[in-house]
Symmetry: D2
């Protein structure tokens, strides 16, 4: 898939609540997704809410799988583990998703999130997706 | 804290995006939180989005901690692990949070989520919170 | 399976390093496994090593699956998450494994561990097993 | 710490069951630990047991922390998440541990494990350690 096709598929897949995240790059190593930060993602004290980062991790992992297997909406998350490492400022977050494994039945993806302009990892996730049998 | 005080604290803590979840019960065993399901929480195919369940797990765990230590907004999630077990229908979700540990520095909470009217667990999470030092 | 058949299967499955854990009960709610504590499981300071508890969580989860699907040695762990909650004394550990889900492809098991004679949970795990296709 | 000092500390810390793993490298990026594979680590079918890989992940994470903070035996694992990705052959496993965060109270470490001579990740873990207050 191309970046444009993937982005269109993500938006079309959630007609009632389209994600505000944007796919920026598809490459051999995986995918990079940008989460613009608005009041909706923020928490008092000027930081980003945990659920915003979890949603970003999930979307990035899904994108990494779709980039490989094509637009199969039925892939479902079976588990997600996330460690929150640093308190993020209200700056766009860049998430990089890498396929650790793409099996016939399961895909496992590592997702690292940084604030734009920083190399310090804010949060790191390991996400497992179940791949639909008929593909 | 009472159910009302906890609910008010949750809403006040997120002025820009107040949670739609509602604390229903505080008891010795823990807390129960209801997530009303709307188009915002749904995914095509008539199911609930993963991020909605993750946000509910986080909020329920936070509530379970606050119910014990009082309204300390600074508690922060340090990690969250969730297993998605069954495809939920578009029905309100009831989440039960139980403190597995409340230490001086860390709290660990188990969260089980079921559709209203069902005993089958949809998703189960283990969440760790860091407790602020000065309390 | 009966307790005896399950125990025999566990021992036969690891001829080179038979587990020292013992299945104590199979019931509707799940399985209970006892881990006798010896010098091998201990750490300086008079506590039990983390890997001993992880091995017990894995074995207990496996037993909970086998108790339902029968002696299928090919079930493999795909992920394990464990929170260590309290510093255990050098006392036998009782682990209870409960099936959260038994699907065609995946089983998810919750495992709680307590020291014998105590109700305080030492460690709690969520374990995922892949079920072999042909059964 | 040097490789030798760290290795000596690991062995001295477990007098009753010294680890068979060997620290091979300490570097800016983290630590590399080798786990020799013997009958003790094996499972029928010619593969390595899950608990062996979990113990290696834990030891590698601990080594990555000690390499930074010095020989503080009291650091304890608070949680470990591991995804098992590929069925390993009976070949030495090399584990690389990288500090994702070293805070005053918590350290989070990512551990990747490969068979010697291969780049395919067998298992990947995220491990959290509690750092003792007085150091």
């Amino acid at each position: 898939m191309t970046v444009d096709a993937l982005q269109r598929f993500l938006v079309d897949s959630f007609p009632d609540a389209p994600p505000t995240a944007v796919v920026e790059e598809l490459a051999d190593w995986g995918v990079r997704v940008r989460q613009p930060i608005t009041a909706e993602n923020s928490r008092p004290g000027g930081t980003i809410s945990g659920p915003s980062l979890m949603a970003l991790a999930d979307l990035t992992a899904w994108s990494a799988v779709l980039a490989e297997i094509g637009p199969v909406a039925l892939s479902v998350t079976t588990s997600l583990h996330i460690d929150f490492l640093r308190r993020p400022d209200l700056v766009d977050v860049l998430a990089e998703g890498r396929l650790l494994k793409l099996g016939r039945r399961l895909a496992v993806i590592s997702v690292s999130m940084c604030s734009e302009g920083s190399d310090a990892v804010l949060a790191q996730a390991q996400v497992t997706y179940s791949i639909p049998p008929a593909r």
